[in-house]
C-alpha cells in the first residue's frame, strides 16, 4: 500500500458509480496526480451504488436526462457491463395509456426503439403477469441491467493503471480547508492532502462533506424500499441474472426486476422518509450497509399487495432481503453538478442515479477540463441554479416530499409545485390577487400566468381564443392568455416582471470585464443598452441577457428568474479579484413592470415627468433600446424601451417599496385605454413565439451557437470574450441547424379532437415520419410551442437542418404518438408577426 500523499492536483471524495467513473474520465482527459478516497471499503463502500437495482429505462421527457442516460448506457455497453433485458411499463389506469403515447413521442425524439403492447402482448413477454389488471404496456427492448460496482471498479482501475490516480479506502474526511474562497486541502483520518481541486461525489453524504467547506449541496438522503423475494421456479429455470423484461407497474409506483432466481420488488409509493446525512450510521454499526437500513414493514405492505395482484407467484416467494435503501433526492429531482457557488474549485457530482452515472461523470469531467461540458447542456443539473431559499433543509424536505411519489408519476410539462409557495412576492401582489391572478411559481416568485379578471375579454376575442378540448392540452393553461395577448396588441397591457434578476457592475474594470463575458459590444453610450449572448468556451450559449449602461462605470445586467442563479455564479466566477469590479445583486431591491401595446406611449406620457419638468416619451426623444431615469407619479424610476412581446413600450424599474404606487399610477393612467394586467402566458409564450424570440434553456442551450440560433450580429467586436474563437469559427461555417418557426397545418387528431402540443421536446419529422438529425447529431424537436393569436396559427420553434429549413417546407410533428402536418413559416430570427418590428419602434 502506497504512502498517503501530502498533495494532489485533484481529490475525488467518494467511490460510488459517480466518483469511480469521474476519475476514469478525468484520467482520459489528461488529469494526473489524482487521489480518490472513500470512508468505506472497496469495491462496495456502502453508499447507494452498493444496493442499487441497476436498471436503465432510457426514455425520459427531459432532454438533458435523456441524453445523459443514453450516454451512460453506451458506456456500460462499451465496458461490457450492460445486460439488455428489455423493460415494460404497464398501465393500470387509462391516463397512463395517454402517458405511454407521450413516452412513445419522447422515445422517437431520442431515437429509442419503443413499442406499445396490448395486455396479451405483455403476457407473451412476461408469462407470469396478471394481464387482466393491465390495460397496456410501453415496451422498450433496450432496457438493461448494468453492473455498476464492476463498472466503477474498471473505470477507477483505468485511472490507476494510467498512473494518474491513487486510491484510499477506509479513509474518512474530517475537514475541508478553504483559503481565500478557494479549496485548499482535504483533512482525513489518514492525513492531510493539499489539493487544487476537490470533487464531492459522496452521494447521500455530500451535503455533510460540502458543509465542511461552507458550501451547500442541496439534497436529502431518502428511503426507497425494496425487497428480494424468491426463489421462484420460473425465474430459476432461466439460469440467467435477468431473462425477463423488467416490469414497471407505473400506477402503483413499483417495479419488479428479476435477479437470478428471485424477483426484486421496489417501490416509490410509500410516504417520503428522509434521513439527515449526519444521522446515517457508520459502516461498522450497520447490519448491512449504511444505506441499507431496516425495512419499515408497514410502509411496504400496501406495495406487496399490489405486487401480488400483478404477479401472483410473488405471494408465495420468501422475502429474503428487504431494506429501506437510501438514495439522494433534490428539491427538483435533478442532479446537483458543477462547481459550488461558495468555494472555488470545490465541485459537486451528487444526486446521481446509476442510469445516468457514467454519463454525468463524463459531463463533470469535461466541465472541469474545458470550463463547460460538451456532452450536453447541464443547466437543469447545474448546482448554481438554486437560490438561497432553495438550499434550506426546509425547502428540500418540502419539495422532495411533494415529488417523491411522482417518481413514476405523470408530470405535466407545465405542472406547478404545491409546496413552498408564496416564498417571494412582488409589490404588485395585492393588485394581482384582487384581479384573480393564477399564480405560477418561478423559483419562489409568485408570477401571474393569467388573470381571471380578463375572462370577459374572451367574448371580445372569441374566434382567437381557442378552446382546447383535450384536458391534457388545457391543463395549467387558460384561453384568457389569448385574450390578454390580443387586448395588449390592440391597446395596452402591463406585466409584472419583478422576478427578473438585476446585477449591477461598477468600477473601473466593469466595462472591460463585461466585454470579456459578452459576445456583443457593451461599450455603448450611457443611457443605451445591449442585448448579448454569453458563450461557453466552446461557443455555445451559456446565457442570454440585456445590459443597460447607467453610467460610465455602471452597468446593469438584466436576466430571467430561471437563470439568475446560474448567471450570478458565472459572472462572479470570472470576476477579477483586484477590486476593479464591484458586483451588487439588486434583484431584491428592484421591481419591474412591463407596459406594452399601441397605447403604451399614450399611457406613459400622462404620468412620466422629469425632475420639475415634463418628459418626452416619444420614440424621437426616447428611442428603442434607450434607458432613462424619470419620475412616474413622482417616484424615481428607470425606464428601458425594449420589448419581448413585439410591442411599443418599456420595462420600468423602481425600488420595491415604490412598486405598488407606480403600478397604480400606470393602471390609472391606462384606464381610458382599457389597460389590463397581462400574465406570463403572453409574455413568455404567445407574445414571444409570434416574434420568434428565443429563450435560454429552450432554444438557447450550450449545444447551439448564435449563428444557428440566428442571433449572430453582422460584426464581431475586437475585444476578446469567452468563446470568441469558437464563435468566429462558427460564423465561417455553414450552420448545420437553423432555428425556425413552424406553424401547425392541421391539429385534428385521429380521435377528432384538436390537439395543442405542449412544447416538451416533441420531434419534428419528415413527411415519412423520419427523425431529422443534424451533422452534429442533434435532433430536431420542439423547443417552444404556443398559440399565435395574432397570426391565427399554433406555432412551434425548432432547429432544422438546412435542407429542411426552407420556408413553406412541409414536415410533421409527433405529439402523443400521432403525426400532425406542420409548415416552416420562418427560417432564422425573422418573426412571423410584424416582421419589420415596426410596432416596437413607432
Amino acid at each position: 500500500m502506497s504512502e498517503f500523499p501530502k498533495s494532489a492536483k485533484c481529490v475525488v471524495i467518494g467511490a460510488g458509480i459517480v466518483g469511480n467513473c469521474l476519475v476514469g474520465h478525468l484520467s482520459k482527459l489528461g488529469w494526473t496526480n489524482m487521489v480518490q478516497i472513500d470512508k468505506g471499503p472497496l469495491p462496495n463502500p456502502g453508499g447507494s451504488t452498493g444496493h442499487a437495482s441497476n436498471f436503465i429505462f432510457p426514455t425520459d421527457h427531459n432532454k438533458e436526462m435523456a441524453l445523459l442516460t443514453l450516454a451512460s448506457q453506451q458506456q456500460y455497453i462499451e465496458l461490457g457491463m450492460n445486460n439488455t433485458c428489455g423493460g415494460i411499463e404497464v398501465a393500470r389506469n387509462p391516463e397512463r395509456l395517454e402517458e405511454f403515447n407521450r413516452r412513445m413521442t419522447s422515445a422517437k425524439s431520442w431515437g429509442i426503439d419503443a413499442k406499445l403492447l396490448s395486455p396479451a402482448e405483455v403476457k407473451e413477454l412476461v408469462p407470469f403477469i396478471n394481464e387482466k389488471i393491465v390495460l397496456g404496456g410501453y415496451y422498450t427492448p433496450s432496457v438493461s441491467c448494468v453492473d455498476s460496482l464492476q463498472t466503477g471498479t474498471l473505470m477507477r482501475e483505468s485511472a490507476v493503471k494510467a498512473g494518474n490516480l491513487s486510491v484510499f479506502a477506509n479513509t474518512e474526511v474530517l475537514d475541508l480547508e478553504v483559503e481565500n474562497g478557494t479549496i485548499k486541502a482535504v483533512v482525513t483520518n489518514k492525513g492531510r492532502i493539499e489539493t487544487e481541486y476537490v470533487v464531492v461525489a459522496c452521494g447521500v453524504w455530500s451535503p455533510r462533506i460540502a458543509k465542511m467547506a461552507g458550501a451547500s449541496i442541496p439534497l436529502t438522503p431518502a428511503v426507497h424500499q425494496m425487497a428480494d423475494v424468491g426463489p421462484i421456479d420460473i425465474l430459476q429455470k432461466t439460469n440467467a441474472e435477468v431473462a425477463f423484461p423488467i416490469i414497471r407497474d407505473m400506477d402503483t409506483f413499483c417495479y419488479e426486476r428479476q435477479t437470478a432466481g428471485s424477483m426484486e420488488v421496489g417501490s416509490y409509493a410509500h410516504r417520503a422518509i428522509f434521513m439527515h446525512p449526519d444521522e446515517i450510521p457508520s459502516n461498522e454499526a450497520s447490519a448491512l450497509s449504511p444505506t441499507e437500513l431496516p425495512l419499515t414493514q408497514d410502509d411496504f405492505d400496501p406495495q406487496m399487495e399490489q405486487a401480488i395482484e400483478l404477479m401472483d407467484m410473488l405471494g408465495d416467494a420468501e422475502i429474503k432481503y428487504a431494506i429501506n435503501g437510501l438514495l439522494s433526492l433534490t428539491p427538483d429531482a435533478m442532479p446537483v453538478l458543477g462547481e459550488t457557488v461558495e468555494v472555488k474549485n470545490l465541485w459537486s457530482a451528487a444526486a446521481v442515479w446509476i442510469k445516468e452515472g457514467p454519463g454525468i461523470a463524463q459531463l463533470v469531467a469535461e466541465w472541469m477540463t474545458y470550463g463547460y461540458p460538451h456532452l450536453c447542456d447541464p443547466h437543469s443539473s447545474d448546482i448554481s441554479r438554486f437560490y438561497p431559499h432553495e438550499k434550506t433543509e426546509h425547502h428540500i424536505y418540502a419539495r422532495c416530499d411533494e415529488h417523491f411519489n411522482k417518481t413514476y408519476g405523470i408530470v405535466h410539462p407545465r405542472e406547478q409545485w404545491a409546496s413552498q409557495r408564496d416564498m417571494r412576492r412582488s409589490p404588485f401582489y395585492p393588485r394581482e390577487e384582487a384581479a384573480g391572478a393564477k399564480f405560477f411559481d418561478a423559483r419562489g416568485w409568485e408570477r401571474p400566468q393569467w388573470f381571471t379578471s380578463n375572462e370577459k375579454l374572451i367574448k371580445k376575442f372569441k374566434t382567437a381564443c381557442e378552446d382546447r378540448p383535450h384536458e391534457w392540452d388545457a391543463r395549467w393553461w387558460s384561453p384568457i392568455t389569448n385574450a390578454e395577448h390580443l387586448q395588449m396588441r390592440e391597446s395596452v397591457g402591463m406585466v409584472d416582471l419583478t422576478a427578473f434578476n438585476e446585477f449591477d457592475f461598477t468600477g473601473k474594470g466593469a466595462m472591460k470585464f463585461l466585454q470579456y463575458m459578452c459576445v456583443n459590444n457593451v461599450d455603448v453610450e450611457v443611457g443605451r443598452s445591449v442585448y448579448t449572448p454569453l458563450l461557453t468556451p466552446a461557443g455555445g450559449f451559456r446565457g442570454d441577457l440585456t445590459i443597460m449602461r447607467l453610467a460610465d462605470e455602471h452597468f446593469r445586467v438584466i436576466t430571467g428568474a430561471f437563470d439568475g442563479g446560474r448567471d450570478n455564479y458565472w459572472f462572479r466566477r470570472h470576476m477579477p479579484n483586484d477590486g476593479s469590479v464591484v458586483f451588487t445583486d439588486m434583484s431584491s431591491a428592484l421591481c419591474t413592470i412591463g407596459v406594452w401595446g399601441p397605447n403604451a406611449e399614450k399611457t406613459m406620457a400622462k404620468i412620466v415627468t422629469g425632475d420639475h419638468k415634463p418628459f418626452d416619451v416619444s420614440q424621437k426623444n426616447f428611442p428603442y433600446g434607450a434607458v432613462r431615469n424619470v419620475l412616474i407619479g413622482g417616484v424615481p424610476c428607470t425606464m428601458f424601451r425594449i420589448s419581448y412581446v413585439g410591442e411599443n413600450g418599456w420595462e420600468i424599474y423602481t425600488k420595491m417599496e415604490h412598486g405598488l404606487r407606480v403600478w397604480d399610477a400606470i393602471a390609472a393612467a391606462g384606464k381610458e385605454f382599457e389597460i389590463i394586467p397581462v400574465g406570463m402566458g403572453v409574455y413568455a409564450v404567445t407574445g414571444r413565439i409570434e416574434k420568434g424570440y428565443r429563450l435560454m434553456g429552450a432554444e438557447l442551450e450550450s449545444e447551439y451557437n448564435p449563428v444557428e440560433a440566428g442571433l449572430a450580429r453582422p460584426k464581431v467586436k475586437s475585444a476578446d470574450f469567452i468563446g470568441k474563437a469558437a464563435y468566429l469559427k462558427a460564423r465561417e461555417e455553414k450552420p448545420c441547424a437553423i432555428m425556425c418557426t413552424l406553424e401547425m397545418l392541421d391539429q385534428t387528431s385521429k380521435s377528432g379532437l384538436k390537439r395543442y402540443p405542449t412544447g416538451g421536446n416533441e420531434p419534428i419529422l419528415t413527411k415519412n415520419g423520419d427523425r431529422i438529425v443534424d451533422a452534429k447529431g442533434r435532433v430536431s424537436r420542439v423547443t417552444t410551442a404556443g398559440a399565435g393569436p395574432s397570426v391565427g396559427k399554433y406555432l412551434l420553434l425548432a432547429y432544422l437542418t438546412p435542407e429542411h429549413a426552407v420556408e413553406g417546407n412541409e414536415l410533421r410533428v409527433m405529439y402523443m404518438n400521432e403525426l400532425f402536418p406542420v409548415r416552416v413559416a420562418r427560417v432564422g430570427s425573422q418573426p412571423l408577426f410584424d416582421p419589420t418590428d415596426a410596432r416596437m419602434k413607432s
Binding site: P41, L42, A169, N170
Partner: protein, 328 residues
C-alpha cells in the same frame, strides 16, 4: 466456605475447559483467602481426583448415584445443587461450554439463585462478603457486560479459552468427599439415551487447519478448490453464515457465533468479509490468513496475514505450489 469448580467430563474423561475453570477457581479462592474445592458428578469421574489434586484443590466432592452413568443435564444439575447445599461454597464456577452452562443453569434454577454465564473476569476486590462483580460476554463476545451477582452463593460459568490452565500442587492431596445424591424420577428422563459416535477424523471444532469460504466464493460448486486445499493441508472446510443462508453448504460447516467456534492453528478465510457474526467464531484461531480482493475488508485488517486477490485464482495457486513442493 470455598470456591467450587464444577468438573465437566464425558463418561469419566475430563474436558479441557475444566482445566481453565480449576485454575480460575484456585486464583479466586486465593484472592478470597478461602479454599478451592471441586465437584465431580458420577462415580466414573472419581478417577479425576488426581488431576484435580494437581491443580491444588483441597477437597473433591464426588457426587454418586446409580443413575449417574452417562450425562443428563437435570440429574447433573440436581447433583450439583445438592453438593452446593451441603458444602456451602461462596462461588461456583462451571465451564463455559454447552454442558457447563446447562449444569450451572439447572443448579441455579433448583437453588433459586442467579447465575452469570461466560464470565471473563471477577472483581479483584471480591472477598466473599459483598455482591460479586463480574465481566461477562454478551452478543457472543462482541459486547462485555459488567454485572453484579447479589446472592449468598454466586454461580457462574467461565468463558472458554479465557484462562490458561496452570497446574499448582497443593501442600497435600485433595480430600475426597463422596456424597450420595438423591435423584428421583423427575430427572431421570433427560439422560443421553443413545449416541452416534463420531467417526474418526478431524471435526471443524478440533481441526488444526480450517479453510473457510464466504459470500465471495459464489456458489456451492466453487468450494471445490477450497476442499482441495483443505485436503492437502489435512484440514477441513468451513464457511460463513452467508454461505449456509444461500444453501451452498450445510450449517455444520458454519464458523460463527451461531455456528461452530473454532481455535485452529491456522484459519484460512477466503472471500469472507469478516462480519461480527463470523469473527466471533473465528477469533480464537492462533493464526488467520485472509484471502480477499479487498485490502480494506474487515477480516483483512484483523488477520495476521493476508493475500490481496481473487480467491478463485489464489487458492488453486496455493494448492499447485504445495503439490509442486511435495513432488520434490
Amino acid at each position: 466456605m470455598s470456591v467450587l469448580a464444577v468438573i465437566e467430563h464425558d463418561r469419566g474423561a475430563m474436558t479441557s475447559a475444566s482445566l481453565g475453570v480449576m485454575t480460575a477457581a484456585r486464583n479466586l479462592a486465593k484472592q478470597m483467602n478461602t479454599k478451592f474445592e471441586a465437584v465431580t458428578i458420577g462415580a466414573n469421574a472419581d478417577r479425576l481426583s488426581e488431576t484435580i489434586s494437581n491443580f491444588g484443590a483441597t477437597t473433591v466432592h464426588q457426587a454418586h448415584n446409580s443413575m449417574l452413568v452417562d450425562y443428563g443435564p437435570e440429574a447433573w444439575g440436581e447433583s450439583l445443587a445438592q453438593v452446593v447445599r451441603k458444602s456451602s461454597p461462596q462461588v461456583v464456577i462451571g465451564t463455559g461450554t454447552e454442558r457447563g452452562h446447562e449444569i450451572v443453569a439447572q443448579a441455579a434454577a433448583r437453588l433459586d439463585l442467579p447465575a452469570a454465564m461466560n464470565c471473563i473476569e471477577f472483581d479483584k476486590d471480591f472477598n466473599g462478603t459483598q455482591p460479586l462483580k463480574v465481566t461477562r460476554t454478551r452478543w457472543g463476545g462482541s459486547l462485555l457486560e459488567q454485572a453484579a451477582i447479589d446472592a449468598p452463593i454466586k454461580l457462574v460459568t467461565l468463558a472458554n479459552h479465557v484462562v490458561e490452565p496452570q497446574e499448582e500442587l497443593a501442600a497435600s492431596p485433595a480430600t475426597v468427599s463422596p456424597i450420595e445424591v438423591q435423584l428421583d424420577e423427575s430427572v431421570a428422563q433427560s439422560f443421553v439415551q443413545d449416541r452416534v459416535e463420531r467417526v474418526a477424523g478431524v471435526t471443524l471444532a478440533t481441526s488444526p487447519v480450517v479453510v473457510s469460504g464466504g459470500r465471495g466464493v459464489g456458489s456451492a460448486e466453487a468450494f471445490a478448490p477450497l476442499e482441495e486445499l483443505a485436503a492437502l493441508l489435512k484440514g477441513v472446510v468451513g464457511c460463513s453464515r452467508a454461505v449456509t443462508n444461500n444453501g451452498w453448504r450445510n450449517h455444520t460447516d458454519q464458523v460463527g457465533q451461531t455456528g461452530t467456534r473454532i481455535a485452529p492453528d491456522i484459519y484460512i478465510a477466503c472471500g469472507i468479509s469478516g462480519a461480527i457474526q463470523h469473527w466471533v467464531g473465528a477469533m480464537a484461531s492462533k493464526n488467520i490468513l485472509a484471502i480477499n480482493t479487498d485490502a480494506q475488508a474487515n477480516i483483512v485488517t484483523k488477520a495476521g496475514y493476508a493475500v490481496i486477490g481473487d480467491l478463485h485464482k489464489v487458492v488453486p495457486a496455493i494448492s499447485a505450489e504445495i503439490r509442486r513442493r511435495q513432488a520434490k
